[in-house]
Symmetry: C2
């Protein structure tokens, strides 16, 4: 059942709508905010005074209006009004960034994560790194809003528990939120990597002001973070965005989920490496990668990407084939959800992301239905850090975004 | 940019939330409404008085409370407080129903639609039928809320214009909303059949109180009507729910959209008939349908369904094969959107709907990821009329559902 709403909440909501309007523009006047939001001049004036008092917003360059009348006072977010930390936990690496309220990363660090690392070790390392980043930046501690953690699923974002993400041994039911809160003293929010990356792209990246889009995150798993009608979409049980097990071929390779021809079978590093190795074994001796046949088990995705960029046909063709299958799945998602934009990111794309982008664009051009819509394909602004920047954005988003759902009291 | 909200709208919204609560329950007290909605007893009391005065709600059976205290006064929707008409325009048939506010169909009628029928003819026929239904029912005219129209897309729901639905010749840019408004004098709302069926299922059917579900409508086209987080989801340009062109096999049959292996190629009547005919020609002489080989072009889907129900192996296997492909596509959608329920309906399923349901359930059991969720598969409560009942529900829904989005003023 839906809950009702009340006055106090409406005031909070309107304040966040005004803040969102200021954040979305690069300099906007009170009059323009009133036009954009439909709120009265008096309401805007009250809210802006409150935001200025709280230091969240600053007045900037008094532009003379075009008609030469009273100079126009612009309002901007004060980037130093708040900060957030964001951590990406990955199978082989931990990344940590420090973001300001304006969305700029101030500091970042990466640590290799040895296989089989215990959760306690990771928490200790993250807490230590956070302290170092905060000390280096100087003067941010008092305004720290919290620490966001992005991780491959499955996980429970509400309670901040990880349930043995793929490739993480001995990580059954890790209460990472509680562990990190106790060790750092900061509020901690946990989200899956695709969802966090989607929030990040909306907060600081290519999807600013875009209400219907998906972030397709190709890391160790393959997930979609969905923003629908301007809001994060989580689904009935919080597991929305499972994308890697989209069926693409009933006669395709077997998947550990019990199905055949799942998207992940065409996009994961392991599968691309196997496909390349098969071609090398079949005698593609002109490939730059041919010598790797002598080092079984040592060819990695980064090497294949580098070969593709250097012009190697086998490497380029296999990455393109992977991108084509991704494109087929993405077209299905765009058809179903009528999205305006798809953002590609995650570590598995790396510097070959442009190949994936090209193939996805090609698929949209060829098989989108109905055809007339325009759908943009973008590469994540945060590159390899899209998970960590996203995790920090989740904290900023939770603190400052207008959430219509929060109007409901039940 | 998001719009702000104001007091008057909050009052309307709360009234609709209360109405929705009463509608969703079969008898509910003021105290229970307060608990469900989080609104104060005083607010509930004011709203309920207004709803009683307007005749939208009636007090019913004063149950004694369990503890033997003051008898509990229950509130219920007054089913005769309003009525709506719903029309389904299909390639070969027009259906019209009269629904009351309680969601019961009071009258219904069907007309065969000869191929090539002009829009003006269809409008004239609908208006005449509407008049007859209203006269037969008696006493509903004054409380008629409007006429809903469900049609295969592509269409523009906002302006009520149809753009040559598949199979409709000379139906380019038909302003059906305006035409029907002029002829009937009622407000007209137009929606695509899958979307309308989804609204109908939520208003009167299996999806009452279900916030995340899809209605998969298999008529002449194949579409999905999406209800996400309790609201109709339309996407960025209003074309959300395109499902028939989901890619299921890169080596599958060619589709007119330019792709291969689209879902529609496994589910449309034409394709199922062709598949059966291929098997008959290949010598499946024991099939009940074998004699149809002598009547080329005359075998239809209804006959195949009847044969399957009568135990014919060829017919049953081909319908099951079609259902399996539908199941693969539906699992992808459920994975992506984390739905609680999928409702199947539309004329192409007919009395063989149970075969599709079985195959979709089987697919969810086998290849859903992650596995632990429970997803219900239901057949539409409105059967063949799911489009028409849905169209009438669109009118009721527009009049009486709490729409959080309407809180925004921009």
């Amino acid at each position: 059942m839906q809950g009702g709403t009340n006055l106090l909440k409406v005031r909070d909501f309107n304040q966040q709508v005004v803040l969102e309007t200021i954040r979305g523009a690069s300099g906007v006047s009170r009059t323009e905010i009133a036009q954009d939001t439909g709120l009265t001049a008096q309401t805007i004036s009250n809210i802006v005074r409150r935001l200025l008092d709280e230091g969240l917003v600053v007045e900037s360059g008094k532009k003379s209006s075009a008609r030469g009348g009273k100079p126009k006072v612009n309002l901007e977010i004060n980037p130093d009004a708040g900060y957030a930390l964001g951590a990406q936990i990955d199978r082989d690496e931990i990344a940590l960034v420090l973001l300001n309220l304006g969305g700029q990363p101030l500091r970042r660090v990466r640590h290799a994560m040895p296989a089989g690392q215990a959760p306690e070790e990771v928490v200790r390392l993250l807490a230590k790194s956070a302290k170092v980043l905060i000390q280096e930046a100087g003067g941010v501690d008092r305004k720290m809003l919290g620490l966001g953690v992005a991780s491959p699923g499955p996980l429970d974002p509400e309670n901040g528990v990880l349930y043995e993400p793929p490739g993480f041994k001995n990580w059954e039911e890790v209460p990472i939120k509680q562990m990190l809160q106790e060790r750092t003293g900061y509020p901690v929010l946990v989200d899956n990597d695709a969802m966090a990356a989607a929030v990040g792209e909306r907060w600081v990246g290519k999807a600013r002001g875009t209400d219907n889009y998906a972030f397709v995150y190709n890391g160790w798993g393959l997930g979609a973070g969905l923003f629908l009608e301007g809001h994060v979409y989580r689904g009935a049980t919080g597991t929305a965005g499972e994308f890697g097990h989209t069926s693409l071929d009933p006669n395709g390779p077997e998947c550990e989920c019990g199905n055949r021809g799942c998207l992940i079978r065409y996009c994961s590093p392991r599968e691309i490496i196997s496909a390349v190795e098969r071609r090398l074994r079949a005698g593609e001796s002109s490939s730059l990668l041919y010598s790797w046949l002598k080092k079984p088990g040592q060819l990695d995705l980064a090497t294949i990407r580098a070969a593709a960029i250097a012009g190697d046909r086998v490497a380029a063709e296999e990455l393109a084939a992977s991108g084509r299958m991704l494109g087929r799945a993405i077209v299905g998602m765009v058809n179903l959800l009528d999205l305006q934009m798809v953002v590609l990111g995650g570590k598995a794309l790396g510097e070959a992301a442009y190949i994936y982008r090209r193939e996805v664009e090609e698929a949209l051009r060829k098989i989108l239905y109905p055809e007339r819509r325009e759908v943009r394909v973008e590469l994540s602004c945060a590159g390899e850090d899209s998970g960590a920047v996203g995790a920090a954005s989740v904290v900023l988003h939770a603190a400052y975004s207008p959430r219509l759902m929060s109007l409901r009291s039940a």
